[in-house]
């Protein structure tokens, strides 16, 4: 079947996007629509003394101005973190209160204080500016290390010392003992820079309350509309689930930042109820920098020990994770169960210990951003492996290879049980594609042009397909992480797939159709994917953590199993054959080895007319399924980056980037390659360009594209993308997931390459021209001194 699994099917969704007919939230206009603007704190930490809304309320066309105390009085609940993490002393995490509109204190620049509703967007902004808030400024702390120091400004009363939790994994004593006995120990201080996710579509919401029906509708830029509805209902008390419809129409990228339910959606829904108007709010870009959850921001100390043969004996990591001013929805899981559980990398390490302190600071909340914890883990292990190889004078790829996990399943000391993989195959494929053997020649040729050439590896592994519900439940998750699907075969034989996964660039309308086309041997044009609307789709946990293939598609497979069984029963009945003899192929349902058949649509029609179906069978042909994975999946691979540095300016050019990935079964290679390209671009972005910078007063200095460096076309190379796959044993399609790999695997490869080129391992991300040049000066100063 040309459109089935493995085919490079062009995307079904593209036509509306290339013709300007996509339908994003801000494109939608509701009847009686008003616009919201938020009064936001200009201070990173302050007590609210008073708020005067008189001037704003007097402006013609201003509908209402609403504030925190009223929101609390109306019973709207605090924003919560949905994953409980327990400190090593057994105490629960210290979650500070986060009201959608601040009541007593503001804790970061951009913290919402009031919502203003007016007839036009510009009037709403003008009115918001005229709200006079008197603040009593408080001392500010922006860095996680500083926030833990004695005497640091305190953000939340119930989090003494700004400590949210002090968590550990692995065994300390054996790890310390192994390191003490090691023949070689490498230590490394690592900063994982803070990033702004920056999907190109800014967040947006339209909230409507229908008083006559006592019913709410929310259009929102969400990666998981059902989770949004659940949280808005169960925790924020905005409306009960059956009275709230959440629609996430076309969504222009998410990368994690659109998982969460933010104060704006809550406030818009509440204000819609209070004012009787439909309320639209669309973030501008600066507002996005100030309020979208950021990613990363770890400071770590790592220590790895090797025996005399170069085999790893132990790894110890201490990490301080900056979670910002409040705990966002999955913020606690990111630096713990999505991070430290991957510190074993692709290696057989008997002893691992990791301690993570999560910290409040006067900055934007930090949560999952493409990769979420796994890029931080990969960066630690892959930077320290490269560093150790340099210290020991051995080939970094050989040091890695000799420590590879080679037999599966493999239980690491940090929870994860790797189910499959062939790390050596990925490394070999990447090395061949990158012509590593020819690097020395390329390096000397570059030197003749005055350029410093370097090569760096990264052998990443990640845990995707999140996740087995019981497993994550035991680790503190507040929800189950299964997925659901419904397969509707219509009387004319066309098929609708209702999925709880959400596509915001991933191409589900195509790939999900491909697995159905494969199973029932139908053209993809006869298959429609329905997603993103809680009134249409039964339920769903949404798209993040590279889960839509391994979990979302598996749910479809389970539902298709049920459909296939029923189709076979009907056909066997009509064709008077045994069920086991029925095959589905070429658009027909046949009795194998005979010319007896029903066309596919005839089976559909038979099911719905119900004139001649087996006795006792229900009419119709529609099945649903919930799929709960049995394990995480473990995409892995080897990335090789080659750079040239201009020593005069510190400008680095990525001259080659090779990826060899193991994603298990690939449904559509074209789409998978696109996911890898985008992931690598974001990883190179983290490594060389992007950085959220705060000054000491907590003002974000990088809150626009004038100062936050978004990678552009001329900053990036073409990517050489390859696959060497093993089948995932954990799900019916054998898929592992591909959405985050590029962002996880690439940063260490880039930094390993640049530090190789400049001969100075002391280089933090982002390796901007200024940073690289400065590191080069340090080398020349050192050389001069010797």
């Amino acid at each position: 079947m040309s459109e089935g699994i493995g085919a490079r099917v062009l995307r079904k969704e593209d036509k509306r996007f290339i013709t300007g007919k996509g339908r994003y939230t801000d494109d939608i206009v509701e009847d009686n629509q008003a616009y919201a603007a938020f009064v936001r704190s200009p201070h990173a930490h302050a007590r609210i003394v008073s708020i005067d809304t008189t001037a704003a309320m007097k402006m013609e066309g201003v509908e209402t101005v609403l504030m925190g105390p009223e929101l609390v009085a109306d019973g709207i609940g605090n924003i919560i973190c949905g994953w409980g993490v327990t400190s090593k002393d057994g105490s629960p995490m210290n979650m500070g209160a986060w009201s959608a509109l601040a009541t007593e204190k503001v804790r970061y620049v951009g913290d919402a204080v009031a919502i203003v509703v007016a007839d036009t967007k510009s009037l709403a902004k003008l009115a918001a500016e005229s709200v006079v808030v008197t603040y009593e400024e408080l001392p500010v702390v922006v860095g996680s290390v500083e926030a833990l120091e004695k005497g640091a400004p305190q953000l939340h009363d119930n989090a003494p010392g700004n400590l949210i939790f002090d968590w550990e994994i692995g065994d300390l004593a054996p790890t310390d003992a192994a390191l003490a006995a090691a023949a070689h120990v490498t230590e490394l201080d690592i900063t994982n820079n803070r990033l702004a996710p920056n999907p190109m579509e800014p967040r947006s919401a339209i909230a409507t309350f229908n008083e006559a029906e006592d019913h709410y509708t929310l259009y929102t830029t969400s990666q998981n509309p059902h989770v949004a509805r659940l949280v808005l209902s169960a925790f924020y008390n905005v409306a009960p689930e059956h009275k709230l419809r959440v629609i996430a129409p076309d969504v222009g990228g998410g990368f994690g930042s659109k998982i969460y339910i933010y104060p704006e959606e809550i406030a818009c829904l509440w204000a819609a109820m209070k004012s009787g108007r439909s309320i639209k709010w669309t973030s501008d870009r600066t507002e996005a920098f100030l309020t979208d959850a950021h990613g990363r921001d770890h400071v770590s100390k790592a220590k790895i020990g090797f025996d005399k043969d170069g085999m790893i004996v132990g790894l110890k990591v201490e990490t301080k994770a900056n979670l910002g001013a409040y705990m966002s929805l999955f913020s606690s899981a990111v630096p713990t169960y999505l991070y430290a559980t991957l510190l074993s990398g692709q290696y057989n390490i008997a002893n691992i210990y990791c301690n993570v302190q999560a910290v409040y600071t006067n900055t934007v909340p930090v949560d999952a951003y493409r990769g979420a914890g796994r890029p931080e883990a990969c960066y630690v292990i892959e930077r320290i492996m490269e560093t150790a190889a340099r210290e020991m004078g051995v080939d970094p790829s050989e040091l890695r290879a000799k420590n590879f996990v080679t037999s599966f399943p493999h239980q690491t000391p940090v929870i994860m049980a790797y189910d499959s993989g062939d790390f050596a195959a990925n490394q070999k494929q990447a090395q061949d594609a990158a012509d590593v053997a020819g690097f020395a020649v390329r390096k000397s040729e570059a030197a003749t042009r005055g350029k410093l050439r370097g090569l760096g590896y990264s052998n990443y592994i990640e845990a995707c397909g999140i996740a087995p519900s019981a497993a994550v439940g035991s680790l503190g998750a507040g929800v189950g992480l299964w997925e659901s699907a419904e397969v509707r075969v219509n009387p004319v034989g066309t098929i609708e797939i209702l999925t709880g996964s959400h596509s915001h660039g991933q191409g589900h309308e195509t790939t999900f159709a491909q697995i159905v086309a494969e199973r029932f041997d139908l053209p993809t044009e006869n298959i429609q994917i329905v997603h993103g609307d809680t009134d249409k789709v039964q339920f769903g946990m949404g798209t993040y953590g590279s889960r839509s293939g391994a979990v979302g598609m598996s749910a479809i497979v389970k539902a298709m199993d049920k459909v296939e069984a029923k189709v076979k029963k009907i056909a066997a009945h009509v064709l008077e054959a045994g069920e086991d003899d029925i095959v589905i192929e070429g658009g027909a349902v046949k009795v194998a080895g005979t010319d007896k058949q029903m066309l596919w649509h005839e089976v559909g029609l038979a099911a719905y007319t119900a004139h001649n179906i087996p006795e006792g069978m229900e009419p119709g042909l529609k099945e649903s399924a919930f799929y709960d994975p049995t394990n995480f999946t473990f995409p892995a691979g080897c990335y090789i980056c080659e750079v040239e540095v201009d020593p005069e300016t510190g400008v680095t050019e990525v001259v080659q980037f090779v990826a060899s990935d193991d994603f298990g079964t690939i449904i559509n290679p074209m789409i998978v390659e696109g996911q890898v390209h985008g992931g690598i671009a974001q990883g190179i972005g983290q490594a060389m360009f992007e950085n959220v910078v705060y000054d000491d007063a907590g003002q974000q200095l990088s809150a626009s594209y004038m100062d936050y460096t978004m990678p552009r076309a001329d900053d990036l190379p073409n990517y050489s993308v390859h696959h060497s796959s093993t089948t995932c044993p954990g799900n019916p399609l054998g898929m592992k997931g591909c959405g985050e790999a590029g962002a996880i695997g690439s940063p260490p490869a880039v930094i390993n390459a640049i530090t190789d080129a400049i001969g100075n391992n002391n280089l933090s991300m982002p390796a901007t021209p200024a940073a690289v040049w400065t590191a080069l000066q340090d080398v020349s100063i050192k050389l001069a001194a010797e």
Binding site: F17, T19, G20, G253, G674, M710, A713, N718
Partner: protein, 160 residues
């Protein structure tokens, strides 16, 4: 004030405030929502349209300044409703888009660059395409397939 112009070949006129941006005129008043807004600092290029045949950022121009101009948006790029412009086809065939939000601006920038290069008889190399995309930001594709799409679209466009 009343502002009249030609948009996608049709004469249009709307009463708008003096501070209305061209992108607001297009999106909010004409309800042509293919032109997007992705930043506040004129850098992302999601809003690029053609003004009298040249690519411009409709977020960085007042509607009043476009009085009397001929505007083409992504909705008006193809010859007819049932047709696609070769550059639109190239973006689809080369997987040059993912979430689709930057795509209209990318396509409008792409057709502008191809027209200019062809009229000047210059070769549109890969480096040139990447440099010409300086004012368009994509967060999904890593640009690899956008560059491929534009090269492919260019080979199918004949403007001179």
């Amino acid at each position: 004030m009343k502002i009249a112009m030609t948009v996608n070949g049709k004469s249009v006129s709307r009463d708008v405030t003096d501070n209305t941006l061209l992108v607001e005129y297009i999106r909010d008043h004409l309800r042509l929502t293919g032109t997007h807004v992705g930043c506040d600092t004129s850098q992302c290029g999601a809003c690029v349209v053609h003004v009298d045949g040249q690519a411009m950022k409709s977020c960085t121009m007042l509607a009043a300044s476009a009085e009397g101009a001929a505007i083409t948006t992504v909705e008006g790029l193809a010859k007819s409703k049932d047709d696609l412009h070769p550059m639109q086809v190239a973006f689809k065939e080369n997987h040059g888009l993912q979430c689709g939000f930057c795509t209209p601006g990318m396509i409008m920038t792409a057709t502008d660059m191809v027209t200019r290069y062809q009229s000047q008889g210059k070769e549109l190399t890969e480096d040139a395409i990447r440099h010409e995309l300086e004012g368009n930001i994509c967060r999904c594709t890593g640009y690899h397939n956008i560059v491929k799409s534009i090269a492919d679209g260019a080979s199918k466009m004949t403007t001179v």
